[in-house]
């Protein structure tokens, strides 16, 4: 009678494998912990210091040297990124429509590709371009026009891609039905597809807006800085903006300057989080939890 021999792994090997797993997962958990902690710490610092820096006068007074309020910067940020959005929205959406609806072949492929390249171009390169081309060569000086156009270049590929993706999610049957009813390209795109894709397109525009409000490098040498509220000139008038306050005032040795930097950081981060959250909600509502 033959003995049934069960082959088992030696105990030491099992132990070693379990140990490896335990150590490995600890490292993985620690990696997540570090990232999550850093994120929470950044948010915590911005919120705590920002909230205590907010006070009466932040929205009603202009910066006065290193003190005062942030009215000029808040207005400037809104005007700059709003202006950039106005510039880029029609153009970017048109490109998105082309890529999604009409673009076939080499031209569309290369536009798509170059749009991805544009996403990766460092923002300081755009800032440098805006400075030399618009501020110096065209002689616009530090101005809303120079800042907003530079920001618009930065936002363009984002609007293009999100519009294209939103339109692609519209079912083909809808297009077929619209064309079958005798709609021409314009009617189908504007009345049917853009409407069906509106939430996605809007989300893309909002995300591009948050991108613009958080940028500093493209504005340093295009928008300049001003202690006054922007009063309506497109060129030859520098514009204040919030990210400049963060970058510039935190390096100054005055408590009032730091207070303004914290307040500016708080406003920017809250704005970005609100819009990001809102955009995610729209997407989840429309396209289901899986984006």
């Amino acid at each position: 009678m033959s003995e049934i021999r069960r082959r088992t792994l030696p105990r030491s090997r099992i132990l070693r494998r379990r140990l490896t797993a335990a150590v490995g997962w600890s490292v993985a958990a620690a990696a997540f912990g570090v990232l999550a902690l850093a994120m929470l710490h950044i948010l915590g610092l911005t919120f705590l210091r920002g909230l205590s820096a907010l006070g009466p006068g932040i929205f009603t007074r202009n910066t006065e040297g290193m003190a005062g309020g942030l009215r000029n910067a808040v207005v400037g940020t809104l005007v700059l990124s709003g202006g950039a959005l106005l510039l880029v929205a029609p153009l970017g959406m048109a490109v998105g429509v082309y890529l999604s609806e009409f673009g076939r072949g080499r031209f569309a492929t290369s536009v798509r590709f170059l749009s991805d390249v544009l996403v990766g171009v460092p923002s300081i390169v755009l800032g440098y371009f805006g400075y030399i081309a618009l501020v110096i060569d065209l002689g616009w000086r530090f101005s809303l026009a120079a800042g907003a156009i530079t920001l618009a270049i930065l936002m363009l590929p984002y609007v293009v891609r999100t519009t294209e993706q939103a339109l692609r999610r519209v079912p083909t049957a809808l297009r077929e039905a619209a064309y079958a009813l005798g709609g021409n390209d314009r009617q189908v795109v504007l009345r049917i597809l853009m409407r069906a894709a509106a939430p996605g397109i809007l989300t893309g525009l909002l995300l591009a807006l948050t991108l613009a409000t958080g940028e500093t490098a493209p504005l340093l040498y295009t928008a300049g800085w001003s202690n006054y509220v922007w009063h309506g000139r497109l060129t030859h008038q520098p514009v204040a903006y919030l990210t400049y306050v963060i970058w510039s005032f935190i390096g100054e040795p005055f408590r009032s300057a730091h207070r303004l930097a914290y307040a500016a950081a708080f406003l920017i981060v809250v704005f970005i989080l609100l819009i990001n959250g809102g955009a995610r909600l729209i997407l989840a509502r429309v396209f289901g939890p899986d984006r």
């Binding site: 494998r17 379990r18 490896t20 797993a21 490995g24 997962w25 490292v27 993985a28 958990a29 620690a30 990696a31 997540f32 990232l35 999550a36 850093a38 994120m39 710490h41 950044i42 082309y98 009409f102 673009g103 031209f107 536009v111 798509r112 749009s115 991805d116 390249v117 544009l118 996403v119 990766g120 171009v121 460092p122 300081i124 390169v125 755009l126 800032g127 440098y128 371009f129 400075y131 030399i132 270049i153 363009l156 590929p157 999100t162 021409n184 995300l207 958080g214 500093t216 490098a217 340093l220 963060i246 970058w247 935190i250 930097a261 914290y262 920017i268 981060v269 989080l273 990001n276 939890p289």
Partner: protein, 315 residues
């Protein structure tokens, strides 16, 4: 409609062509003046601005004027490479933890927390670096590293105030890690459940499933994501400008040394470069911008080829 939108689409190549053409045109004189020495010599000097301009390399320049950006190349590459290394370790670890250990319900919300790192503006990272990270590291962490300095090179004293290579790299790590986590997470979630089940049924531990089965096929994805992240780290401006210590012409001797990067240098120097009456300093900055542009195009092309998809916009 077709024609109008096609015309609009031409704006994208046009914008890129204008930027590239402009930088090439504008930097041309600097390229002639600097030659290959731009990349092989160290030292950025606008020369004696009070002397009379002289002809050098066929260009009008100031005596003593020289533009060599080795210190910028070293600073840029060292900070970005360190950041990429850290981002790989943290990103892969965190993603495995989130997809394999954390219950499915929590994976998305917790991933969002990590990917929120990508939404934080660069200048806020800079603020955090100045107010918290740099002083914290200089006071509590770097002294520990310095003790190892006797054995490990580049770790010895002096520590400085926390503004330098390692601090920059750590901040860059946080900024680029979402690219790696987002891309890897999507790739891991796309792996068919059968593969996991098969590995488990063969007696693998969960860790072995993760590292030997799930990660095994992700080499291409990881390299693609890594190149993408590297591209972003190389071009990052504000955060680095605020915590790098803004070295001028000095090469880092240890991991705490002040550095500067190409992108940060453009932002830091544009003002003073304008004071140069020959215009060569500003044009040499255009040459740096051109180098950055070329790097960003290369990294994008490579990562696109590897990932076979467009890079994520909002990770």
């Amino acid at each position: 409609m077709r024609r109008i939108t096609a015309a609009a689409a031409a704006a994208v190549p046009l914008v890129l062509a204008v930027i590239t053409g402009f930088l090439v045109f504008y930097a041309a004189r600097a390229i002639r003046f600097n030659g290959i020495g731009f990349f092989t010599t160290n030292g950025w000097s606008i020369g004696n601005q009070y002397a009379n301009p002289i002809q050098m390399h066929g260009v009008l320049a100031m005596p003593g004027m020289h533009f060599g950006i080795v210190f910028l190349l070293v600073g840029t590459l060292a900070s970005a490479a360190l950041a990429l290394l850290f981002a790989f370790v943290l990103g892969i670890g965190a993603t495995l933890f989130l997809t394999e250990i954390v219950p499915g319900r929590l994976t998305r919300p917790l991933s969002s927390l990590v990917e929120l790192l990508a939404a934080i503006p660069s200048v806020v990272y800079g603020l955090w670096g100045i107010v918290f990270l740099a002083p914290f590291l200089a006071r509590h962490v770097y002294p520990l590293f310095a003790r190892l300095g006797a054995v490990v090179p580049f770790l010895g004293r002096p520590i400085g105030a926390g503004y330098g290579l390692l601090t920059s790299a750590l901040i860059l790590t946080l900024m680029i890690v979402p690219f790696i986590t987002a891309i890897l997470r999507d790739a891991l979630l796309a792996i068919p459940a059968e593969l996991r089940e098969a590995a488990v049924s063969l007696g693998s531990t969960r860790f072995e499933v993760a590292t030997r089965v799930l990660l095994r096929g992700q080499g291409r994805t990881l390299i693609g994501a890594g190149i993408l992240a590297l591209g972003r780290a190389l071009g990052e401006t504000m955060a680095v400008l605020m915590v790098s210590g803004n070295a001028l012409n000095s090469l880092p001797e240890r991991i705490y040394s002040p550095i500067s990067t190409m992108a940060a240098f453009i932002a830091a120097q544009l003002d003073s470069a304008l004071g140069d009456q020959t215009g060569l300093a500003v044009r040499s900055l255009a040459e740096i911008a051109l180098v950055l542009l070329v790097i960003s195009i290369l990294t994008n092309v490579l990562s696109r080829l590897l990932l076979r998809a467009s890079p994520p916009l909002h990770v």
